[in-house]
């Protein structure tokens, strides 16, 4: 099921152009992933995955609209894709609800990999982790 969360903007996310800087979007995606990991209190696999070690391998972001600072938070839809033995992809839609009509401000994908922080070596996803990640199936309708 696609996960939906709200991420508030901060004034300092804006640059001299008066819109939220492209690099701030990486932080919005990160915050959405953290919310997703914590969204299933009855399933610890997500929080354990976060604690044991998962790293970003690649980000792809398509910026479609400018986002000026506003007290209205971004709405982020998140789902998982391509869950493999040693990596998975998280896909996102970032919606700007500031105007009369919601606006799709950006779409993005992040390739993530579980690692063992103690040895700095990649590792395989456990069956429990795979099941947890599969719970965020998409794409949205």
């Amino acid at each position: 099921m696609v996960f939906q969360t709200k991420v508030p903007l901060r004034w300092g996310d804006m640059d001299a152009y008066g819109h939220c800087n492209n690099a701030a979007f990486i932080t919005y995606l990160e915050q959405a992933r953290v919310h997703a990991f914590h969204s299933r209190p009855d399933d610890n696999a997500g929080v354990e995955l976060l604690l044991s070690g998962v790293v970003v391998v690649e980000h792809t972001i398509r910026y479609r609209r400018q986002v000026p600072y506003s007290p209205i938070p971004l709405r982020i839809l998140l789902w998982t894709d391509q869950i493999r033995s040693g990596s998975y992809t998280t896909a996102y839609q970032i919606w700007n609800d500031q105007g009369a009509q919601p606006e799709l401000a950006a779409t993005a994908q992040t390739l993530l990999a579980p690692i063992n922080f103690a040895t700095s070596r990649p590792r395989r996803l456990t069956a429990g982790e795979k099941t947890f990640l599969q719970g965020f199936g998409g794409p949205p309708d």
Binding site: V7, P8, W11, T27, E30, Q31, V34
Partner: protein, 149 residues
Amino acid sequence: MQPYTIEMQLRWSDEDRNGHVNNARFMTYSEDARLKWLAVMRHDLGTAGAGNGAILARQSCDYLAQVHVATTPMIAIDTYVVRLGTSSVALRQIVRDLATDDWLADMASTLVCFDYRANSPAPFNDAEREWCLRYHLSEDDAAALHQKG
């Protein structure tokens, strides 16, 4: 003694290598509260800082507790006016855990009403001065606040 209060969501990346919210992040929290307060002034009066703006002249922070995002996902920031000059306003900001009300930081900042075109301070107008005093924290109020905190 009515503060201007905002709620703010902490971010995972606000924590540093020590696993707690980094000291510098508090400046950003203060900034968001300050700018939202000024936005209310602009909304109410049509101006905020004589129609020009305000610039930060001073900022200090007493750190009262370690903050961990996992246990404190949301904070509240109370903004009070402690002193009003001709072209400056001194603010006190209490950063609290939204869920527990525990004080996390006690901050002070001085804003100067500023004409960005002239690159110089400008006086607050009467309406702005009166508006600022809605949030005034007297010394007696401050003492009561200390006891509560």
